[in-house]
Point group: C2
Chain length 420, copies 2
């Protein structure tokens, strides 16, 4: 008998009919002899509707109250799923994040989980109940206020609860049936992976893959929680995210998959006087605005002792970064700040590149043959990323996928939905 | 400086626009120098929408989960009102019933408040914040589960919080601007009362008046909380519910108002053998089905030693009472159970009837002149109620109102809405 944690996203819970289907799956899992804990996001459009209502009463709503408001969504979905489970003859209790012992920092809208003390959940399981835990939320350790966890919060809740309960697996359900070697909507012969180690999944998530959120994969890796990515529309086993690349024998290490990201933009500060501290001043200015940067490129200075500094960041932060840099233009004496949001990032991920020389060469050759120009290149031990024109992203993904023979024989099954 | 508790019902919070108006009133109250605590019901149709969703996933939803589901409604409205308050420059924190220290029994769907320990509310007030408390809910003392308080729960929450905080007044806002001598939609010259003592308000509430819920008035009376019934659509001072009839000098005691109730039905058990215990058996049977009864009439037995026993109850319980009584028919040996749901109850309330003989006579004469037949009559120290044909309710109300000269000179202002 295993302890299974299942997480269902908003699109799996869009209406009463979907909720009943999800309840059927949950009850079947319980009847198979498992203890079952379920984490539900808010139903389909609920969070957006609540955000809209909030905007109508206050264009800049206080964060504490936004968390009080938004958490109503998960309360509703978890209670409804518990009711649907009861209609099938099983017993279930729903709990808010607070009731389930999810303790967090005080940062409203982006709280981090400090600890999970799930005694009420354990008690429910001991009494034979299925326990539902509202995702995306917790209670602040300091202020006792209700908090929400930011992007991917429900995935994080599920993994954190699974870790605290020492669950055998954490199943993340959405409308995709696993992790693919590339986005099946771009690459028709993309292959579903049976399994992928944590570090590779982390790189894919950081490189644009929307299947799992970075924080939840990191949490799973730290606590050794196996994740299974599955579709709530089928019985396919999905992809298992578990194990470390360190456990993979060198000769078996592979190139795993290709990710792409259209959410970044490029900022170039031109004519930067080439003296110590100039680059630091630029990056500190951006950091002070609480903007994360991704790839960086600094050219060798020209004969006039000036250089260009380029970096990428999320498009959402672009305008703000530009305006902050404009403020220090005269102080630093650079020429201009350029902004380009027609870029895309394509990444190849795989533990195999550590032990196989020539991967970078093959990668660049494939892009060259496809007529794709590399603007910035950035690597880690198991990842190569390039910044290119956004219009060439699809071609680049296909070229790399082909060059590394990642495709399978079957045409990938693409479900309705955006891959979450 | 006073501590004011204000309660806003669902129709006052129907949409973003109404919410902003409510926020304006709250902030004005605060700016006038008061400490302000606000209790909000769920927005307009929210509770019904949630009930409907619940029905879709389970026709007989488990009560614990129903409470988890429904309480999302108050969470949403209170957070939105807090946001609207913030947009006007004041500061506000919303709290669930549980966070506000509303401790209850474990009866889901109809919990009773055991205690209110509002330390977080007090703390908020001390820091200059407006505190919002979700109505209609609390936390069970025994199980720590979230509970809802049943009918009129938000009124009860408001009064209970006012009592715990020793507030100077508890203002109940709806779409009516006070307590009237009769329903203004029936009696065009019904007069708004400036003030009414607790016991008379209790009688009115028990006799069909929907302005305030019985439980909240009883709570206010027990803890000496003055209630003010006001409209959220105007600045009228409303009606103050405070004081005891014992404080009214005999010569000033009045006849206060007329209430009517169309929600009752009549059950008659015919041909009951007239022996000790028969009536007891009938009433115990109904009581065991957890059905409350109101008026009772037992005739003198006929020459055959048989009698009819008649009682009234809420229509919602009628069919169930009938079927329970059918089960003991052969055991008791009565003839039949008759059911009549075309009845109405009309009541006259006033402390003055204690000291003015002839009130009952005037009452009955007024009805007779209006051609209204009395089927059952039932009195308390300060109330006379009669059961009549439901088609005659309006005539009876007008006749009694006229006979006791309760009307004012101005035409009553009738707002859209059903009086809640």
């Amino acid at each position: 008998m295993a302890l299974v944690v299942q997480k269902y996203g908003g699109s799996s819970l869009e209406n009463a009919e979907r909720i009943k289907r999800v309840a059927e799956r949950i009850v079947a899992t319980k009847k198979a002899g498992n203890d079952v804990v379920v984490v539900c996001s808010a139903m389909g459009d609920t969070t957006d509707e609540l955000l809209d209502l909030a905007q109508q009463v206050n264009p800049v709503p206080p964060e504490r109250e936004m968390d009080m408001l938004l958490t109503a969504g998960e309360r509703i979905s978890n209670a409804l799923v518990a009711m649907a489970i009861a209609s099938l003859g099983a017993e279930a209790w729903s709990f808010t994040g607070s009731q389930a012992g999810v303790v967090t920092t005080s940062v409203h809208g982006n709280a981090r989980i400090i600890d999970v003390t799930p005694s009420r959940v354990t008690e429910a399981l001991e009494q034979g109940y299925i326990a539902l835990v509202a995702g995306f939320q917790g209670v602040s350790q300091d202020t006792k206020d209700i908090t929400t966890l930011g992007r991917g919060g429900s995935d994080t809740t599920a993994v954190a609860v699974a870790a605290a309960l020492d669950a055998d697996v954490c199943e993340i359900y959405s409308d995709v049936d696993g992790v693919y070697t590339a986005d099946p909507r771009i690459v028709s012969n993309a292959r579903k992976l049976d399994t992928i180690p944590y570090e590779e999944m982390l790189e894919l998530a950081a490189s644009g893959s929307k299947i799992l959120h970075l924080r939840s994969v990191e949490y799973a890796r730290r606590y050794g929680v196996p994740i299974r990515v599955r579709s709530s529309y089928s019985d396919q086993p999905g992809t298992t995210v578990a194990g470390s690349i360190e456990e993979i024998p060198v000769e078996q290490a592979l190139i795993t998959g290709v990710a792409h990201d259209r959410s970044e933009a490029k900022v170039t500060v031109t004519g930067v006087p080439d003296h110590a501290g100039a680059a630091a001043r630029i990056f500190r200015t951006v950091a002070n605005a609480e903007i994360d940067i991704d790839m960086v490129l600094q050219n060798i200075s020209d004969t006039a002792g000036r250089t260009d500094i380029t970096f990428t960041l999320s498009k959402a932060n672009g305008p703000r970064a530009v305006s902050e840099l404009e403020k220090i233009k005269s102080e630093l004496g650079f020429s201009a700040v350029l902004y380009d949001d027609h870029v895309g990032k394509v990444s190849l991920v795989g533990a195999g590149m550590r032990s196989h020389p020539g991967v970078t060469a093959t990668f660049c050759e494939a892009l060259a043959e496809a007529g794709v120009n590399i603007e910035i290149i950035n690597t880690s031990e198991i990842r190569i990323s390039v910044l290119i024109r956004d219009t060439q992203v699809d071609d680049a993904v296909r070229a790399i996928h082909e060059a590394f023979e990642l495709g399978g024989d079957e045409e990938a099954v693409v479900y309705a939905g955006s891959g979450r």
